[in-house]
């Protein structure tokens, strides 16, 4: 049972599969469906210093093999996340990756300091890329200097490793990856959603109340694979890969491209049991192929085994 064992900074994982931030809430709903201890880790919903209601509805729209979302970072805020969500999660021994968001550097620092102080989160994931918040949140993810400064400042106040979640809405994602690596990032999560829009042809207006939203799901997989492949050439930092994963073959493709672990987002909506199902399939696969460790697939093909 150690074939799938995956050890990343702050995250000692039974397997390399975790639900992606924002697609799993804080786990309560899925805990009614299966034992969360099966998961490699859990990426929590973005937490901000104050509670946020988020955007008006509609917040989701469907597109070909994808979906747009503009939730707008709705969350109960730092205090309640600690007092209610993390305390509820305490009964599980699955490592937590706490996604944090904000509109100023100070916001991020505050949330990072308090969350890491709880000693309950294995690592932090800086959401510098959420395209839904208009207050400037998008700039952190597209400007390498800002991204680096933010990373440095968050690292300085955090007692646990810090992953930076990169936005695909940039000309050259390797520039961002290298900037945050130099600034001390312990790992990368990639990719966040692509900025997109759907227009309701009947009303003539964008379907989402927020007008644009983040594109996720199978449609974006080739973009995620390309970006991880590019970034992997530039850095040895651990990469948590995501973007359209819904099958075992997708996971293998991400690992070959350069991911050390993977996150499953949108597919949880289509099939709420997808994470444990994929974990079982990956275990069976590794066994059938005789892999000592799943990372042997990295950079190699299935045919080598």
């Amino acid at each position: 049972m150690t074939r799938l064992q995956t050890n990343l900074p702050g995250l000692t994982m039974k397997n390399p599969i975790m639900p992606a931030s924002g697609c799993f809430g804080f786990g309560e709903e899925f805990a009614n469906l299966y034992d969360l201890n099966q998961l490699g880790a859990i990426a929590l919903k973005a937490t901000t210093n104050h509670p946020r209601f988020g955007n008006e509805t509609p917040r989701v729209a469907e597109t070909p093999a994808g979906m747009l979302n503009a939730i707008g970072l709705q969350n109960p805020g730092l205090d309640k996340v600690i007092s209610e969500k993390l305390s509820w999660l305490e009964t599980y021994d699955t490592p937590l990756l706490a996604n944090i968001a904000g509109t100023t550097m100070e916001d991020y620092e505050e949330v990072a300091a308090d969350l890491s102080e709880t000693n309950q989160v294995g690592a932090l994931e800086l959401n510098i890329s959420c395209p839904n918040v208009k207050e400037g949140g998008i700039a952190f993810g597209t400007d390498p200097d800002l991204a680096a400064e933010l990373t440095r400042r968050v690292k300085a106040v955090s007692t646990c490793p810090v992953y930076v979640k990169l936005s695909p809405n940039v000309t050259d994602i390797t520039v961002l990856a290298q900037a945050v690596e130099r600034a001390g990032a312990d790992g990368l999560s990639m990719i966040n959603t692509l900025s997109g829009m759907k227009i309701d042809i009947h009303s003539g207006k964008p379907l989402l109340a927020n007008e644009s939203g983040g594109l996720s799901g199978p449609a974006i997989k080739p973009i995620a694979i390309r970006m991880i492949h590019e970034v992997r050439k530039q850095t040895e930092l651990p990469i948590i890969g995501m973007g359209g994963i819904s099958t075992l073959n997708d996971i293998i493709e991400f690992i070959i491209a350069g991911a050390d672990a993977v996150a499953v987002g949108t597919a949880n909506f289509t099939n709420p049991f997808i994470c444990p199902e994929l974990i079982d399939e990956l275990e069976d696969y590794a066994k059938a192929k005789g892999l000592e460790n799943i990372q042997e697939l990295r950079q190699k093909g299935v045919n080598s085994f």
Partner: protein, 253 residues
Amino acid sequence: MIVRSNREIAENIFEMTLQGEIVQEITAPGQFLHIKPSAQPVPLLRRPISICNNNKQNNELTIIYRTEGEGTTLLSERKENDSVDVLGPLGNGFSIDETKQEETALIVGGGVGVPPLYSLALALFERGVKVTTVLGFADAASVFYENRFKEAGEVYVSTIDGSAGSKGLVTDVIDNESLQFDRLYACGPTPMLKALEENYPNAQGSLSLEERMGCGIGACFACVCHTQNDPGGSEYRKVCSDGPVFPWREVVL
């Protein structure tokens, strides 16, 4: 679940009977299913469709849906014995315990808001509640289940063009017929719900809402709505897991 039948009962309106174990888990009228219209990634998301009625003896339930877009059109193409990927029953349905025997319940449905009200009407009737139903449709071709609702009590139908029942909106029917009630239950287009809320600000009862959904189980926050009496604007309810049925005036329409 397995399709037992799937037929067009009005213009672009289909009634599908599905069989499966999850029927046993239905706890209240007004719960819904989250249905994957296709095994492929297009269309990607599940579609929420209310449970219209169920029969626990033979593990069957009925849904009624209008072919709106891609998903419901695919659903309409399913044949007997096909299987359908269903998540559910989801959400909280209508509570009927609040309504006492001998009280009068007014049930108001519009278009594809009508289906979840059918099992509600039956449940109230069985409880000994006096049920009056008002159903609104676009036109005669879209009318369905008028006779079915008669099993539970008196039924009024209105159509916008007057081609069946009385001409006008459901609210016109209630006014014109001076319908009285102790409890008000409704499901239908938001303008209809809003009109009811305005006309009967102190009504007791509940209404069922629609919102675009992601997960359907409360995890993604796609389907939230504001609550009334919330000066800060930060309170919310999730239609999928707190609803889709809410007490009158709890949430902002």
